[in-house]
Symmetry: C2
Subunit: 241 residues, 2 copies
DNA sequence: CGCTGGTTTGAAGGTCGTCAAGAAGGGTGG
DNA sequence: CCACCCTTCTTGACGACCTTCAAACCAGCG
């Protein structure tokens, strides 16, 4: 068992955790489970389900519309919760599924609430992390509502890169990224064809290249300019105490 | 002092509150303050700010881009928190302002966290409410990403109507709604001109009419069809205990 | 009565979606 | 090792939705 899970590393950025709190976290993550690729964990509308902590691999949260359209809400990375919010609501407001093979820890809703009661300080830390995720969804909303395809795409890759770096992956010059153009389209509110055209633009302008599951960043500075990136919504490393 | 604030009414839908918890809520809302129209309460990037409980009037949460573009995140109504999430993050990830005259209760971040520590059950209830708000933001994201102008507009008005009903306003046949076409545009990710055309469509199809600050619903059923409305993300009235 | 903020409308153009079809990979089985 | 399949990617043509620009209109208000 690794003494430092991705989740623990993330939460310690918020506040130093007491031994008891660390033990509780270890407990919640004691039974990691391997999940195959393209597997749905929770379906929208499902009730009484668990929350999941993603340990490794790629996943995505999404909603489906009647006519088959799909919107991807976000891409959780190692150490991120999935369905935490839905534990409080009676039913899940969205679905989530794995993209690649992944390992996750399942935490029942009841167990989750119990932990919140017993260790409120830990609860606050987890909610701090959840707040950051929420801020990302808001940023995503702005992206889709008020930025064009090129800006959106640039923003997504920049954000993914930064987040990967925050959890310890060296992503300065590029990173592995198993997102197909189809799922990119559903994340960015575009058509597959237009995603393709936009990626070509980014490639031709020598900003980034996405090829066979790998993003290569050619020009980080221009990427940031195109994306109008403002990373203060990701970077809250301060300890408020 | 009204014995039943909008917030209290909302939270009791989640679970029965103990006298101590009710007292704390009354305490948090003991100093309501009147704010003029078009007044910014918190600006994006501001730190060390408070959370606000909206008691009355209309407000909106938004983000600004460098080139002046704006995206409205949501419209809080009576009993809703503003900036609750930002209390946990070091700085606010978005701005919010009043639209009409409004009365709000300001709660300092420290006081808020204190209340969470002292009365965790109350904290959970507040977070339940926050989760519902978050689900609305997600729905908004889907709206902008995967629905066309007519569907988005229909969805927004239907959602506002339902929410107003949930807090006790009779909005079945219509409701007061001080949203200008400009702010509708920024909420829906459209241009002002297109908002105008879309409203005309809704009017000509005799679905809804927005005129001089009032929405009149002509055909609720067709409104729901156009919006593909699925209200289970608003309607979590169950008591989990 | 003129100003201001909001609404309405037309015309022109751009971004993006749809349709369609071919190319390129990656995996499987013969 | 190659043939075959399937998924994913790529590209062109065309059209729709939506934006921008511009101007007129309307209502409230000093």
């Amino acid at each position: 068992m690794s003494s430092e899970s991705a989740l623990v590393r993330k939460l310690t950025a918020f506040s130093k955790l007491a031994p008891q709190e660390l033990k509780c976290l270890a407990d919640l993550q004691s039974q990691p489970r391997k999940i195959g690729r393209q597997t749905e964990l929770v379906h929208e509308g499902q009730s009484g389900h668990s929350a999941f902590i993603l340990q490794d691999g790629w996943a995505y949260c999404y909603k489906l519309l009647r006519n088959g359209r799909r919107q991807v809400i976000n891409f959780p990375l190692s150490g991120d919760f999935m369905g935490l919010r839905s534990v409080l609501l009676r039913t899940s407001d969205h679905s989530f599924a794995t993209l690649t093979e992944a390992t996750v820890s399942e935490v029942s809703g009841a167990r989750m609430l119990e932990a919140f009661h017993e260790l409120p300080r830990l609860g606050i830390a987890i909610l701090w992390a959840a707040s950051r995720d929420e801020a990302m969804v808001v940023e995503h909303l702005v992206d889709i509502g008020r930025r064009d395809a090129l800006e959106r795409m640039a923003h997504l890759f920049l954000e993914l890169g930064k987040r990967l770096q925050l959890i310890g992956y060296p992503a300065e010059a590029g990173f592995e990224c198993p997102l197909t153009q189809e799922i990119l389209a559903d994340a960015l509110g575009l058509s597959i064809v237009h995603v393709n055209r936009t990626l070509r633009q980014l490639r031709e302008r020598e900003i980034i290249t996405l090829k066979s599951g790998t993003v290569v960043i050619h020009d980080l500075e221009r990427l940031g300019e195109v994306a109008e990136f403002d990373n203060h919504y990701l970077d809250h490393s301060s300890d408020p105490e």
